[in-house]
């Protein structure tokens, strides 16, 4: 079995202890979506303020395990100030890192994941993949909400 240091990287624990972009945004003008992991009861709400083609603000609410919470925190950093299309590319790239297939036949975009790569170790603990992608699925739903 892989060691826990593969899972609980320092940067992950840091985001867990001090989550970024916590809170809510007024809806409207912001959009939001809720996600939950029925297995462990984790809950996440993602708020997006989208102006034109850019996510100008993002907030995350909810509670859950270290992996779901740190993934949500890192996600919020990765999307804030980014163009919606670029964010969609990051979502695809992240989910492919989590070894989750999507139906999209086009190649996975070559984008840099930066800090998010710390979550790569989660793949070695398949039960936790759901925790890591919860925030990202919720983000996708919030983006759909905005359309």
């Amino acid at each position: 079995m892989p060691g826990l240091e593969d899972l609980y990287r320092e940067i992950i624990l840091d985001h867990y202890r001090s989550p970024r972009n916590r809170g809510e945004l007024p809806t409207p003008p912001a959009v939001h979506a809720q996600g939950h992991n029925p297995l462990c009861g984790d809950e996440i709400t993602v708020y997006l303020q989208i102006d034109g083609d850019t996510i100008t603000d993002v907030k995350v609410g909810g509670q859950g395990c270290s992996i779901s919470q740190s993934s949500a925190s890192m996600m919020s950093q990765a999307v804030k100030g980014k163009k919606v299309d670029d964010v969609k590319a990051v979502v695809r790239k992240f989910k492919s890192m989590m070894s989750i297939d999507d139906e999209d036949p086009t190649p996975i975009p070559e984008v840099k994941l930066g800090d998010l790569e710390a979550l790569q170790g989660v793949v070695k603990f398949p039960v936790r993949i759901k925790c890591a992608v919860l925030a990202w699925n919720t983000l996708t739903e919030a983006l759909a909400e905005a359309q």
Partner: protein, 413 residues
Amino acid sequence: MSAAAVDWARVKADFPVVNGRIDGQPIVYLDSANTSQKPHAVIDAMADFMRHAYAPINRSAYRLAAAATDAYEGARTKVQKFINAPKAHEVVFTKNATESLNLVAHSWGGANLKRGDAVVLTHMEHHANIVPWQMLAASHGIELRWIPLTADGQLDLTNLSTLLDGAKVLSFTAMSNVLGTITPVAALCKAAHDAGAVAIVDACQYVPHNVTDVQAWGADFVTFSSHKMVGPSGIGVMWGREALLDAMPPFLGGGNMIADVRLDGFTCAELPAKFEAGTPPIVEAVGLGAAVEYLSGLGMSNVRQHEMHLTDYALRTLTDRYGDDITIHGPRNVEVRGAVLSFAFRDIHPHDVSQVLDQKNVCVRAGHHCAKPLMRLLGANATARASFYIYNDESDADALADALDGASDIFGL
């Protein structure tokens, strides 16, 4: 025979998974409230039956089929004796406790409850004893009332007579799968009857660990699952009083449950076939029969004593070691609790606790335990839960306590 007369090390040796290893390290299985491990006696009984004696039941005249029918019905008689039911044909085999509770709610409840009738449940029920009634609330307009809990996780019976006033049903757990709380079943059944209500007991967590006597309880319906009592998954039990079962409509329709089918309708078979539509879990029944024999061989009062001792030991070990850093839900008094320990450890999320424990092969459940209303009451989205059974001993409680140290290390708290 007393618990001291049972060789618990030999009991443990009967369970192959408990003696297995992962990554060369022993497995510490503390998730029996979820599902129990199986002894060789059960595994062999099922394999032998499939190898040498498998055949349809109730349908064919040849000897092989007659013997299979005897094996299936023999399991029913074993279960009857195990729970001291008056009659074997009152014991109905289902898929699991969930189906048993649905059967009672939909068949008895569907026929006997009407708009405005009250059904009393408790705040510590498993979803299996909540959702079927909520479905009836939607379809029949029944009212649901809830018995609250005391601070230490027992039923708060202060207003019981008010809650039961005019109620048609009291349906409650004999033992909570989250708190371990054992409820005063006989007193609750009596209170229900005094109020003119039917008493339904979800004994899913109780039957595997205690002497069960449905007549001493005075219950009307009792439900449980084989897989939590060292038997196979895929079979459960619904016991009900003959008069009630006779008056109830069938639940599922199809083969085996009919006496006659015409183009213009059908007549039901006698009990228990009336409630066993289709080909039943034949192999599983044989396994459940073997499980009941195995447990009877140990003696259920010995099982209870063994678990009371273990519960007490685990409670003391964890609190001595971690003090205020660990919060164990449910009553302290092992007289009124079974070997189920739901806990919060420091501020570490249960999912992370269970991950760290898994590193030491300590298997505990993390989650809402299919009791979300209770979890809301506890103010937690999830807890970690360690549960003990006949193949566990003090070393397993020690292993749990030791493994928790790893969580502190990683989360630096």
